[in-house]
């Protein structure tokens, strides 16, 4: 395929791997922020091409994984009402709250609809004027513009039967939380290319300076990731801690101003709880005062902030990059995609699901052996 296979070329990949090996003089631990990058790394075996001692740990960038259980409980509660239709992206359906998931709610008769664009929720609202349509708006900065657009469009059209259940999160505050952690081992970041396509990378400069950590905005194809690793290690080896842009074919320093404007109009920055990580100040988006009328929590009651149930699942440590999936005793034994204990095993972008899917049950023993 034009402009895709070029970024999966095995000879070029080998060239990058050799170049990385040439410049690496000691062990380094890097984090790729985005779940899409994690999947590419595990699927293509990019980590296996890296020299010994270079470790890629997987970040919190899986929108489904970090959505708190209580929001899923709220979505289930909303869709149990006969007058409601709940619209959601597909991979949110399998993730359990404290009591079951949206697939189970659907099987009990709840009107749950998978949509491919938030604007589809408006189409459903127009076609069902006697029903209340709720869109489950989750995700990072990447999905925020389209979700904002749905609210903007609904307001412009005067649609009164549509609302948003919002659990949006922001990447930079999560990176700070990881770096502040007492057991942090991250020495460099591959920042999420698609988040930066929207937001640019201005906000990473203070992080790089304060924590003396290189941050390289990186794409999602194998060669993007290898080049991102190369650029990060080169900085580490040279003692630099700068913001660099590997993904320049998509990302500019300023980002997409139009997208930022609509986010700024519809949303405001709020504190947010991250599943498995905890409360992070100014790390989320909620509806702005001008759009408060579209807040599903106003129509159906606020989300209750319950404590997360204790399980042997270590997905919180996985999301913070402190553990790798095969280090979990439950991985592949009593935690599998069919019977998941935690969100990172459920979501298609979760790190545990990536290891299980591409390396199977045996990755636990392989990891131990290496």
């Amino acid at each position: 395929m034009k402009f895709r296979d070029e970024y999966r070329d095995p000879v070029a990949a080998r060239g990058y791997a050799d170049a990385i090996a040439r410049i690496t003089t000691r062990p380094w631990t890097l984090m790729e922020v985005c779940g899409g990058q994690t999947h590419a790394i595990v699927r293509y075996g990019i980590d296996e091409l890296l020299p010994d001692g270079v470790t890629l740990v997987h970040g919190p960038g899986c929108p489904v994984c970090v959505t708190p259980a209580e929001y899923i409980d709220k979505a289930i509660e909303i869709v149990a009402r006969p007058e409601t239709i709940l619209c959601s992206f597909g991979d949110m359906l399998r993730v359990a709250g404290t009591g079951g998931d949206l697939l189970a709610a659907k099987s009990r008769g709840g009107d749950v609809r998978v949509v491919y664009s938030p604007l589809d929720a408006l189409t459903i609202a127009r076609a069902n004027p006697d029903r209340e349509v709720v869109f489950f708006a989750v995700g990072f900065e990447t999905t925020a513009p389209a979700n904002a657009m749905a609210a903007y469009q609904a307001k412009r059209e005067g649609l009164t039967n549509v609302s948003l259940l919002v659990s949006h999160v922001l990447v930079p505050p999560a990176m700070r939380t990881i770096l502040d952690g007492p057991t942090n081992r991250i020495q460099g970041f591959l920042a999420a290319g698609h988040v930066c396509t929207v937001m640019g990378f201005e906000e990473y400069y203070p992080i790089a300076a304060q924590y003396h950590v290189p941050i390289v905005v990186t794409g999602f194809e194998p060669l993007d990731i290898l080049e991102g690793v190369y650029m990060t290690i080169r900085q580490l080896e040279e003692g630099r801690a700068e913001v660099e842009n590997q993904y320049s074919r998509s990302v500019t320093r300023a980002g997409n101003r139009t997208a930022q404007t609509i986010i700024g109009e519809v949303f405001r920055v709020t504190p947010r709880r991250w599943r498995g990580i905890g409360d992070i100040a100014e790390s989320g988006l909620g509806l702005s005062d001008a759009y408060a009328g579209f807040d599903a929590e106003r129509r159906f009651g606020p989300v209750s902030s319950g404590a997360e149930a204790k399980t042997e699942c270590i997905s919180g440590l996985v999301l913070r990059g402190e553990k790798k999936p095969p280090e979990c005793p439950a991985f592949g034994t009593h935690c599998t995609p069919e019977r998941p204990l935690g969100v990172t095993m459920v979501s298609s972008e979760g790190a545990c699901a990536a290891y299980y899917r591409y390396r199977g049950r045996k990755s636990a023993s392989l990891e131990a052996a290496s």
Binding site: M1, R4, D5, R8, D9, P10, A13, G36, V42, R43, Y44, G45, I46, E48, L49, P63, V64, F89, G90, D91, M92, L93, R94, L103, V114, Y116, V138, G139, F140, T142, T143, H194, P222, T336, P337, E338, S348, E349, Y356, R357, Y358, R359, G360, K362
Partner: protein, 349 residues
């Protein structure tokens, strides 16, 4: 009500002539009329002309027998409809047993309110698919359920056909060293149906690959190719078929991703939706496990037929752990191929 709305005329019940009504399944005149005007003319043959409770068949030698039910939304999609699917699916299941389909039964479950035009289209498709595959629809059944109790139309077909292959074809015949041959590009049916259902505005229309594969399969057998196992790649795609056969045969299977043909538009759709083409459904594709010595000859034979013109070798059976399917990726690193753990759900971003 205003005076202007009032009328002494008694209107006929709306929709009675052009949609399925509960009476069409009641066993009375309405049902006979439905059968006489739509079903019997489409499937016209001596078995149905007897208007008996069942078909009487003259069978000799080993016979393969299979059944499948079809539920698809939308009922009509680019490249086919539920009727073509229901005939080709059962014809192909028999072909995978080394048998040529001869007789088919059809069970129709109609939802009250189904447009009769849709029913006409579907039975006409079934007839032409049956003719193309050389199979006769010898017996059938029609039921009607209340509005809201079925997605328009469900179809069940069962098929019988004489087994042509002398050697047994199935997972237990698979051996380490066998070549794995794929009959053409994968993923078109699943993406075509999903795009039609969800109304994706892709730049090109992706058509289902729905087709009978019986002719190329019979050609392999008649040419004496040592065919050890055949499997059509329906739900779950190539991945499920490979894992199922690996597990049943107690062998490992090594695939080479670069050799697996996926059309560019299908690949692009999968990229956008976050799907793996290996998991996407097909309706006119199969894998053949054949003895290594016959691999090239098998590919040459398959390529003579339009439905399998894109046949290629995609892997080899190994002696590793039972059911372990690996796929060598673009960068030369192996990954595990597993069955889907649930429904295919598109990702967020």
């Amino acid at each position: 009500m205003t005076d202007g709305d009032f009328s002494l005329a008694c209107p006929a019940p709306a929709g009675g002539d052009d949609t399925v009504q509960m009476a069409h399944g009641g066993g009375g005149r309405a049902m006979e009329r439905l059968l006489d005007t739509i079903i019997r003319p489409a499937f016209d043959n001596p078995h149905l002309a007897r208007r008996h409770d069942g078909a009487v068949l003259d069978l000799a030698g080993p016979v393969a027998f299979t059944t499948d039910s079809y539920v698809v939304k939308p009922l009509v999609f680019p490249g086919g409809d539920i009727g073509t699917l229901a005939v080709n699916g059962t014809v192909n299941d028999l072909a995978m047993c080394g048998a040529r389909a001869a007789h088919l039964s059809v069970g129709l479950i109609l939802e009250e309110g189904l447009p009769l035009d849709t029913l006409r289209r579907v039975v006409a498709s079934m007839r032409s698919a049956a003719d193309a595959a050389g199979v006769t629809l010898v017996t059938g059944d029609t039921k009607v359920v209340d509005h809201g109790k079925a997605d328009g139309l469900f179809v069940n077909t069962a098929g019988l056909g004489p087994v042509v292959s002398a050697a047994p074809i199935g997972p237990d015949a698979v051996r380490a060293g066998d070549a794995v041959i794929l009959s053409g590009d994968i993923g078109r049916h699943g993406i075509a149906v999903m795009a039609a259902r969800e109304g994706f505005g892709f730049e090109t229309v992706i058509e289902s690959d729905c087709a009978p594969v019986v002719d190329p399969v019979m050609a392999l057998i008649e040419a004496g190719v040592a065919v050890h196992c055949l499997r059509d790649l329906t739900r779950g795609g190539l991945a499920s078929a490979a894992v199922e056969i690996g597990e049943a045969a107690g062998v490992s299977i090594a695939l080479d991703e670069a050799s697996i043909p996926v059309r560019e538009d299908v690949n692009a759709a999968c990229e956008i939706l976050g799907l793996d083409p290996l998991h996407v459904a097909n309706e006119g594709r199969f894998v053949a496990f054949v003895a290594e010595a016959d691999a090239e000859r098998a590919i040459d034979i398959l390529r003579r037929f339009a439905v399998s013109a894109g046949a290629v070798r995609i892997g080899t059976v190994g002696g590793g752990a039972a059911g372990e399917v690996t796929c060598r990726g673009a960068l030369g690193v192996d990954r595990i191929v597993d069955m889907l753990s649930g429904e295919q759900l598109p990702r967020i971003c």
